[in-house]
């Protein structure tokens, strides 16, 4: 069983496909995220690919603190993603609600919303407003090393 799990995790580390979820971000993190796919950073070197549907995804990249409207959608998308999968909370808002801490429309940071669905979920935090592309690559490398 241990060997069985280990090749799955090994292959997952080699080709994490990413689905991008915006749960109420100001678009700043999204723009920085798209930087990663450009020739300057080119994350396809590590097998990271942006996919269009959560069914193909291994990692959900969530930007923005979760609003009231977005929370059920985020939970539904998490349920739709085949396991094993990882959640990345990108930016200060996604990690801790950021400057919207007292906003009436904010339900909570990403980890709280995801853990309502699955208490075992793996959530990684990459703070910054917005985080630099280098910081995101570092975060992904550290996260994959920790799996």
């Amino acid at each position: 069983m241990v060997i069985n799990m280990s090749w799955k995790i090994w292959a997952l580390k080699k080709s994490p496909w990413v689905f991008h979820v915006n749960t109420g971000a100001c678009n700043n993190c999204d723009i920085e995220l798209l930087e990663l796919l450009t020739p300057r950073f080119d994350v396809e070197r590590f097998g990271i690919k942006l996919v269009g549907t959560p069914r193909h995804a291994d990692a959900l990249v969530v930007t923005g603190g979760v609003t009231r409207q977005a929370a059920p959608r985020l939970q539904e998308i998490y349920r739709q993603t085949p396991k094993p999968c990882v959640v990345f909370a990108i930016g200060s808002c996604a990690c801790s609600k950021g400057i919207f801490k007292k906003g009436y429309h904010m339900i909570g940071p990403v980890d709280k919303v995801i853990k309502e669905v699955d208490p075992e979920a793996i959530v990684m935090y990459i703070p910054g407003c917005p985080p630099k592309p280098e910081a995101m690559i570092l975060g992904v490398v550290k996260a994959l090393a920790a799996l």
């Binding site: 292959a11 080119d42 396809e44 291994d58």
Partner: protein, 314 residues
């Protein structure tokens, strides 16, 4: 008797069949992604990337949507995979071992349509509106490219002296004539559409209908679809080589020549993919019906005139 059965199982599973086609197909997918990356001034993935992708998908959870037809949804990928394997076996047995049967050309043409059909069945069975749209577009695309594709085949049959046998076709010289060159170019574009590559990736448009028929697939069935695509990327150029470019040859320097032909066709396909925007479905239909089908008919008429009057270069 048992020896024969063992030999055929070996043909299907190992050498010209599944494992060999898959291995070369995965290398071709890597070449595709690497050349694409270089065209876009990027570095691109490492050589093992397609293999890692498939291993990862095999290890993931398989989700079956609640309002899908479960049997069709799960069996559709197998149809495409099986048909590509059989096509590869027929092409290689005809080229390398000179084993053939009358009319195997038509079997190949029919079987080459099955991967698109399996995609349609899978998309329709998944019960997702995006997938249904994708399947719908795939169906229209098949209607568009099948006619010029078959016209080109008719030209090859006439050029090889009315033979419908893969072995006889492999030794002909279609490319020495105007109609043959036209037929080759038209077939190349049809193959672009069969592969679902960029000017004709209307069915699985990632940016508008989220990969179309694949949208609900995850885990093992998705891996089977990826394997089918990789094998198609190897099998369709081999089909072009064995029908138009004098077949596969593995004696002496022939190996080098065969590999060169394959890589040349592959790179032409990839460059077409990377230098064109996606067409709308009506534009694709117009392109195939208004330009390629008349061109195919003209080439066919030239070929018939050449055959009757004995002029080789027509």
């Amino acid at each position: 008797m048992f020896l024969d059965a063992g030999k055929y199982i070996f043909y299907f599973l190992v050498f010209p069949g599944f494992i060999f086609t898959l291995a070369v197909g995965l290398i071709s997918v890597w070449i595709d992604r690497k050349v694409t990356a270089r065209v876009q001034w990027r570095v691109g993935p490492p050589p093992g990337q397609p293999l890692y992708d498939i291993l990862k998908l095999l290890g993931k959870e398989t989700i079956v949507p609640k309002n899908s037809n479960k049997t069709l949804f799960l069996s559709a990928p197998l149809v495409g995979l099986g048909s590509v394997t059989i096509v590869s076996v027929i092409l290689w047995l005809a080229s390398v071992y000179k084993i053939s049967f009358v009319g195997d050309l038509f079997v190949v043409v029919y079987l080459l349509m099955l991967p698109s059909l399996s995609l349609m069945i899978g998309g329709m069975a998944s019960g997702n509106p995006m997938a249904a749209t994708g399947a719908n577009r795939e169906m229209k695309l098949i209607l568009a490219y099948e006619l010029p594709f078959l016209l080109c085949l008719a030209i090859v049959i006439i050029k090889s002296g009315i033979s419908i046998n893969m072995v006889d076709l492999a030794g002909n010289h279609v490319m020495g004539s105007i109609s043959g060159v036209l037929a080759f170019l038209i077939s190349l574009l049809c193959i672009q559409a069969k592969l679902g590559f960029t000017p004709f990736d209307i069915a699985e448009a990632e940016t508008e209908i989220m990969e179309g028929p694949y949208i609900e697939y995850s885990g093992v069935p998705l891996a089977l679809f990826k394997i089918t695509q990789a094998m198609l990327l190897f099998t369709l150029p081999v089909y072009l080589i064995s029908v138009f470019l004098g077949g596969l040859n593995f004696r002496g320097l022939g190996i080098l020549w065969t590999v060169l032909k394959y890589v040349a066709i592959l790179v032409v396909i990839i460059v077409i993919k990377n230098t064109n925007p996606r067409l709308r479905i009506d534009q694709a239909l117009k392109f195939f019906w208004r330009f390629l089908t008349p061109a195919g008919i003209v080439a066919l008429v030239l070929a018939i005139i050449g055959h009757i009057s004995g002029i080789d270069w027509l």
